[in-house]
């Protein structure tokens, strides 16, 4: 299985920059188009591309399914947890003013960053989980029979 040399080299080059771009979209979501949803999908694409080119086994060695499942839950916990923190600070649920009481616009900023991080983590997890679920299904026909 040493064919597709160009694909393999290009993939290795691209995976890093895709992940970097995902982080860029994640943390600039509050100023430019983007945010957790888009960043999560881009991040997942890096792993899905790796899986398509190098095989499911290699991808799952890098990003094991149990980690993926925990990420799905963790993102929701980050989002809801942000609300719980604001609630404990004596503000309403998800009232971001709580994070910088003397400078609410900063508070809104921090709050958005926190919940978008949660969204990003969950979306990455869900996208990769969907890919694993489909890719891990046994093939009806083996490759030779095609």
């Amino acid at each position: 299985m040493r064919h597709h040399l160009i694909l393999r080299v290009v993939t290795k080059l691209l995976v890093g920059s895709i992940i970097l771009f995902a982080f860029y979209v994640q943390f600039h979501g509050d100023f430019s188009p983007g945010g957790g949803f888009q960043a999560g999908v881009i991040m997942a694409v890096a792993f899905i591309l790796y899986g398509i080119v190098f095989g499911l086994g290699k991808a799952q060695a890098v990003f094991p399914p149990w980690v993926v499942h925990k990420m799905v839950a963790l993102g929701v916990l980050i989002y809801a947890g942000t609300g719980v923190v604001s609630l404990l600070l004596g503000y309403g649920y998800l009232d971001y003013d709580a994070f910088a009481p003397h400078h609410p616009s900063h508070g809104q900023h921090y709050g958005i960053l926190a919940v978008e991080l949660g969204v990003g983590v969950t979306v990455t997890g869900v996208m990769v989980a969907v890919y694993y679920a489909f890719a891990a299904r046994p093939a009806r026909l083996s490759d030779e029979e095609w």
């Binding site: 499942h69 839950a73 809801a80 609630l87 309403g92 609410p104």
Partner: protein, 509 residues
């Protein structure tokens, strides 16, 4: 901009109750998945359900006098922000949903262990908590679109929960799939209706919607929106000709899921119908009055009879009870259709009373399934001798289903008959009593099977564990308690009916 701020007054825990009602069970779901521990999953699920029940009781205590609590999510004021709005009507339903969950979960431990493979347990409880969150959210929120979001949360998790019955009977998969298709059509109709309302009014906050619809009066868009919302929610509530998903879903779902859903899911849909019919749209509009009188009432009466007759001929006890549920939903819709204080009180109190009655019965059947491995009459026959306590609880539940005086079912039917008489609808009152006689037949069918036949040979003898028996008896005794001490249920239902009939004037800021 920061210099001219007024200092923020810290909110007390009591002020946070409306959001905690939904947030506490919601946090449990991802936490269960994240921790991934079977033992902790159940503890978290039960702990948060119990907490939700306490919160619901506190909320009901605050709004019983007719006051309304408004909570702004994220500090954004309605109508732009999402508002949680608690009044007597939804606090009462919150109490029912969280109470049923808190009683079903102790029962769930053994029942789930016997019906679902161990490796699915943590995800099962996570889905269960999502379902509970969705149901509570639908009831607590005052934002129409938020209703749709929570409805989808509860529906999607419900499909998964029903499909878990496939470890016992593969037909659970097709039942879940049917419900997925029907439920999605229902949700789509509902959201189409909301879209039209948004087009006509430019708002999604229920109180604001009510104001604007009242201002502009009826037009084609508003009437079409009403139609879509009634059909969409009618599907979710199993309104008679739209009930086809229900019998299979209830029959093949795991016993715990059936007990929980039968007592809560359709009731929440009925609540949404109430909310839209009375708070958002004005019952004084001609189209709504006509819909209620010429569409809802005939369908309700049809449901009472057709579903009861079908129930009589069932050979599977779970399916029998499922058809009986469709008939009972008919009673609630009949009460709503009367458009009077008494009728609405009857509908709301029946929503509660039927919830606890059906929970008792389905939990009882679940206990029979636990020993007999199935709910067909030839499997469970004669079990009145081998499982006397469970069977006795089922009989109590059955009596409440019929509406024998002294049980919860009697209270609601009594009010329903009174509502019909107030309106001078003698035939309807006669029909209510006549359909109750049909209930006598199918409940007798159950009693006969349990007590007057000899048990099948290959069945494990003995009662179910106490962790299952005690919740069943709590429900069975609740059927009696709420039949004798009617202050709580009737008081809350009357306050709720009053608030709803006040229409949008009761919702103005």
């Amino acid at each position: 901009m920061a210099t001219e701020l007024t200092p923020h007054a810290a909110m007390s825990l009591t002020e946070q109750l409306p959001v905690l009602q939904v947030l506490v069970p919601f946090m449990a779901a991802p936490l269960i998945v994240f921790l991934g521990s079977r033992g902790l999953a159940w503890i978290l699920a039960f702990g948060t359900s119990a907490a939700a029940f306490v919160i619901a009781a506190l909320l009901l205590g605050q709004v019983l006098d007719g006051s309304v609590i408004s909570y702004h999510i994220g500090g954004w004021a309605p109508p732009l922000g999402i508002e949680y709005r608690i009044d007597a009507a939804n606090a009462f339903v919150l109490l029912l949903v969280s109470g049923i969950s808190a009683i079903v979960l102790p029962y769930a431990r053994e029942s789930v262990a016997s019906e679902i493979p161990r490796r699915h347990h943590t995800l099962f409880y996570a889905c269960y908590m999502l379902c509970l969150t969705g149901l509570l959210g639908v009831v607590a929120t005052g934002d129409a679109f938020n209703v749709f979001v929570f409805l989808e949360i509860s529906s999607l998790s419900t499909y998964v929960l029903i499909a878990q019955g496939s470890h016992r009977d593969k037909r659970a998969l097709t039942a879940a799939y049917d419900y997925l298709i029907m439920g999605t059509i229902g949700a789509t109709f509902f959201v189409i209706g909301l879209g039209m309302l948004y087009m006509a009014t430019g708002t999604l906050n229920m109180a604001d919607l009510a104001d604007r619809i009242a201002d502009q009066g009826a037009n084609r868009t508003v009437v079409a929106a009403f139609g879509f919302i009634i059909v969409g929610m009618g599907l979710k509530a199993a309104l008679y000709p739209l009930h086809l998903w229900l019998p299979n879903a209830y029959t093949y779902a795991p016993s715990v899921v059936t007990s929980f859903l039968a007592a809560t899911a359709t009731k929440v849909a009925i609540y949404v119908l109430l909310r839209f019919m009375f708070s958002v749209f004005q019952p004084t509009f001609l189209f709504e009055g006509n819909t209620l009188e010429f569409l809802i009432i005939p369908l309700a009466v049809l449901a009472m009879f057709a579903a009861s007759v079908i129930a009589i001929f069932q050979t599977d006890m779970k399916r029998l009870l499922a058809y009986s549920s469709i008939a009972q939903i008919g009673y609630m819709l009949l009460g709503i259709g009367m458009l009077s204080q008494t009728g609405l009180t009857a509908a709301i109190v029946h929503l509660f009373n039927h919830g606890i009655t059906k929970a008792a019965l389905f939990m009882g059947v679940g206990a029979l399934v636990f020993r007999a491995g199935g709910s067909f009459f030839d499997r469970i026959q004669g079990m009145g001798k081998t499982m006397p306590w469970t069977s006795a609880a089922i009989v109590l539940g059955g009596l409440s289903l019929i509406g024998v005086p002294g049980t919860a079912g009697f209270v609601s039917k009594w009010y329903l008959v009174q509502g019909a008489l107030e309106k001078g609808w003698w035939p309807v009152a006669v029909l209510i009593v006549a359909s109750s006689l049909l209930a006598v037949i199918y409940v007798w069918h159950i009693v006969e099977t349990l007590y007057l036949k000899t048990p099948a040979k290959d069945i494990a003898v003995g009662e179910v564990p106490n962790s299952m028996l005690i919740p069943i008896w709590i429900m069975a005794l609740a059927c009696i308690y709420f039949g004798l001490a009617t202050d709580i249920t009737l008081g809350a239902a009357q306050a709720a009916a009053k608030g709803l009939l006040a229409g949008s004037s009761g919702m103005l800021h």
